[in-house]
């Protein structure tokens, strides 16, 4: 099995890079944290990596708009290598602020060719607040590499600008193209239908994650890298207590790892 190498972008207020790197390594990839300036100055080359991860964080403090300034810096300087990276059918994942960066780079779009400008957005939560809470998700994209064989997930969100938004016709196209990868649901799997807090930000059609047409470029608001261990689950002590009493082993892994494993398996 070839071990893909993931480039974990760092710098300017990205702050989930350590755990994102840990997630990829745990999933079986090699992973390297690379400062965006080292890519721009040519000290590191995008073409040397198979996976590009835009981790979560607060690039530029969310000033002007979340992800906007890093997106501008990235795409102004790295448009060409990024284009080639996509053409080489490699994988891109953005989580939370990384998703915001991708959206604002034009990497997430219903259009046939990415990087043609921003066509969708992530905007302020309807609550007007930053919120850290766990949400139930259903996987709904046939082609998304990262959610392959996943039906449902339970993950934390932690954001103030996580409402995925686009004109209705764009949302229709995304749905039609199978690009809506994760949706917010109730605990029983029923669609959240915008109800708070199941849909934590008011995103229309409960959209939590979106991929491109190929399924290889993927952005999500929830944080799979925060559920790598069973003990991250907010009610793990309850679940572990029950399992122990019933004589079952207590799992050690968290469900978020599946996203990263899917990325690694893609290169098998």
């Amino acid at each position: 099995m070839t071990k893909p190498t993931a480039l974990i972008l760092t710098g300017y207020g990205i702050n989930c890079d350590n755990e994102t790197r840990f997630a990829f390594e745990k999933a079986g990839a090699r992973a390297e944290q690379v400062h965006v300036n080292d890519l721009i100055e040519g000290l590191k080359k995008l073409s040397d990596y198979q996976i590009l991860a835009f981790p979560g964080g607060f690039s530029y403090g969310d000033d002007i708009a979340a992800g906007r300034v890093l997106a501008s810096k990235f795409i102004t300087n790295l448009h060409e290598p990024m284009q080639r990276f996509l053409e080489d059918e490699k994988l891109v994942i953005g989580i939370c602020n990384g998703f915001q960066v991708m959206v604002k780079c034009g990497l997430i779009t219903a259009a046939e060719t990415p990087l043609g400008g921003q066509t969708v957005t992530l905007t302020y939560n309807d609550s007007g607040r930053y919120e850290d809470r766990w949400v139930h998700l259903a996987a709904t994209s046939p082609q998304c590499v990262f959610t392959k064989d996943i039906d449902t997930l339970y993950l934390p969100v932690a954001h103030g600008e996580g409402k995925f938004f686009a004109p209705d016709e764009t949302l229709d196209a995304l749905e039609k193209n199978g690009q809506v990868a994760l949706r917010y649901t109730f605990a029983d799997g029923h669609p959240a239908n915008g109800s708070f807090p199941e849909n934590p930000n008011g995103a229309p059609r409960d959209i939590a994650a979106v991929c491109d047409r190929t399924g290889r470029v993927f952005g999500m608001m929830p944080h799979p890298e925060r559920f790598l261990s069973f003990t991250n689950h907010p009610r793990w002590t309850r679940m572990a207590d029950r399992l122990r009493r019933e004589g079952f082993p207590v799992p050690e892994e968290g469900a978020g790892l599946a996203i990263f494993k899917n990325a690694v398996c893609y290169f098998d």
């Binding site: 840990f22 501008s72 007007g128 008011g202 925060r226 002590t237 309850r238």
Partner: protein, 997 residues
Amino acid sequence: MASRIEIIHRKDGIDAAGLALLRRMKADLNLGARQVRVADIYTIDRELSPEELERCRRELFTDPITQESAVNASVSLDFDWAVEVGFLPGVTDNAGRTAREAVGDLLGLAFADGQAVYSSRRYLIRGDFTREDIARVAALISNPLIHRVRIASLDEAKVEGLAFEPAKVTLEPNFRVDEVELELSDEALSRLGGQGILDRVEADGREVRRGPLALDLPSLYAIRDYFRKLRRKPTDVELESLAQTWSEHCKHTIFACQLDEIDSLYKSTIKRATNEIRRRMGTDDYCISVFEDNSGIISFVPGFNVCYKVETHNSPSALDPYGGALTGIVGVNRDPLGTGLGARLITNMYGFCFGNPFWNKPLPTRKPDGGEPILHPKIIFEGVRLGVEHGGNKSGIPTSWGFLTFDDRYMGKPLVFVGTLGLMPTEIHGRPSHEKQALPGDKIVMAGGRVGADGIHGATFSSESLHAGSPSGAVQIGDPITQKKLGDAQHEALALGLYRSITDNGAGGLSCSVGEMAKESGGCYVELDRVPIKYAGLAPNEIWISESQERMTYAVPLENVAAFLDLYRRRGVEATVIGEFTDSGRCVVEFGGASVMDVELDFLHDGLPRKELTSNWTRPERPEPAFPERSDFTEDLTELLSQLNLCGKEYVVRQYDHEVQAGSVVKPLIGVDGDVHSDASVTRPLLDRFEGVALSSALFPSYGDIDPYSMAACAVDTAIRNQVAVGADPKRVALLDNFCWCSSDEPGRLGELKRAAAACYDLAVAHDAPYISGKDSMFNDFKGFDECGNPLKISVPPTILISSVGFVPDIRRAVTLDAKQTGDRVYLLGETKNELGGGEYFRMLGERADGRPWIGNRVPEADPARTRPLYAALADAIQKGLCASACSVHMGGLAYALARTAMAGGLGLDLTRADAYTETGLSHGAWLFSESQGRFVVTAAPERAARFEEALSGQPLVSLGTVTEDARLRIRDESGQAFVDAGLSDLKHAYKKTLDW
């Protein structure tokens, strides 16, 4: 000529910020607006072509999906009133700084010094309001100390336009270095110490002074004597530098003073306890570096240490709650960052003590004529909350632990505790990472933010009470992203071994950081003209003592300087060589080639004369509340859950990222619905290991109204007990002390201090829990006027916060307090006495009956001789997996712990009072609500009950009943008669409604 880009959310979308203000106007001011929209405005003070501006507007500032925008025009006139809020010149404008960088990056051009982008916000309000109404709205969203505000009706806006001029700082060049005359009368010397160096005399004869040095007469005599020997006068740089270094904030002059018969309270209590405990632990001593560095270091697992520091930022938060709290949290981050050779930041904690946010009486004022009212407690609450939100979230540090406490005596000065835990490898490049050593010849490098006039007199300011003349220049706003970049670059520099020593720039700025590091090499030489400044016009003494944030000072060996500077440049962080460490024994500072400071290090650090103070204390006799006896306490319990000190604070916790870094194990909110507060948090600093760190804390300011000894003793005992409740090892709990006192020049207050410190010693030694770091803030008093213009002093209740950091041997054995399964047995561990004094039940009853808290006399007393073996036994039972849940009993008593156990579990409890370990004659009310120390509520699976009881044999343990399916908390007397019978949904409703904002 400046240009302006204005951006607003399209009218067909949702303007979340506008809606938030609309809701707040209704909730806080009872003003019903028809619509509120928010426009962001960037004023670009640099020549740009129309094409360049348009490109910035389109590609940088405007979201093509949700926003519309305009260049040099009002983006919307859809309002009746507009309020525009921008920063005053010189105030940190993070969005403006980012915009400047982004515009430069996008257009590939540079901004020269003095060219900048300024951000402001315009609130567009529709509704039938008067100008006075809108002024009240403006007061809600701005602060005159940092903001400028314009209010305009639509007509006015059409005529006059809306935009501000750029908030540019324009100062005349200032190379002034004054010699300061000290051969003065005592009266004149006192004025110098209290009000500062004379800056100038106005035409009308009025003296303008630079702000307090906070030096008392003995200190000024010592300085005078020193300079007499040198046969010269001190410069203003020297005097300001000595004032910073000798400040109460830096030298803890009160804790170090001769108090009555005691030679330094600090040495004889806090430090003595730690020394004795460490001696006793011998080879098991896990303290690595305590009280020495910017935070206390203890060992964690082989290969790694953790360090922890808790600070306060009270005075700035009283004036600008947002900026004060943000600067506080980002500032305390730099303590671990500057500990040893630098730690990684793992988790933050917070603790807020506020006045009642629902205060509806007139506010005290700073001026006798009703001018300058203090900020409303809710405005302070909101500002502080947001400051810590931005500080933690934007830095990528989880805020895993915190608390809020309310008392009206915190109205004049809130207490804002902020803490940060760091992780460091034990060794780096074969050297212990907790040791640092600047060597002669090493270059002094300052990195991070630039120096401005902000924060000048910060260290001396916090040593003074707040009064009408308090310099608002002490207010500043932190910049978490600049610091994040700085920290990231530092981790790389550390890995490359590029520097030999490091400390942060906090209070006193360069004067303190360089002065402190100079002790390592034996001297320093600084050229102040090399220090990068935000704007021209700063005098040398200002550059030297400025507390501009987000700066670290490094000792970089000559051979590494180029690599160090290159690395920081590539990371977008400014780093500058400003001088050299020497072995001259002197602190030498030059400006423009001339010496402006030349003082022996020994005098700088040890020349401060010790204070001699006296104290007294007598236990107050308070009326014993007439205790209401009743047959049913359901209502009392329900109401108790809604009290400010006990109610749920999910509103705050949810807005703090408590899960970033992926190490969250026991979260601050737990249970089936994730809405009940836990007693401690557990975090896993290393994702590939199973050891964890538990954080908790305790404070009982109202116990101090009866006896400060009990206040401190109970805080220590509870801070340890809370650790045990989540599965930490009580043999490895380390403590931090934060004394926040008031009027510490009064013998009575010092007497209280002495008693509290004595308890700190006794309890730590009894539990073998060492102090590893601490901080004090001795003058938390507000002096002002009531609504009639009468002088008024509001002093915080003397408050000691004990923070605890515990070791969890295996996070997979951690427990939470929620009842787990129907049929589980419910136990009470510990002894219950008639100890309602200073407690929450009395507070509630008093407020209900008399409009103010009852206090009483029977304050809870800690009895470590009895609690220590209990804690050890329970910790052992938890490690063996015998407990399904464990809840520490503290504020609100047994009833509060039972309610949390039930609410968090979503399960009922059917219980019968059992009195094997109850003081005789205790009424049901006292049994329910007494805050006796050393108790837990534990549930255990029936099949493990026997083993659990055996593990606790010899300990005070009673079985109270079982966990039930029906969602009721029922407590019966021996005859089976229920004296509490509450539905969980009612309890939960009460618990959540108070701060359901």
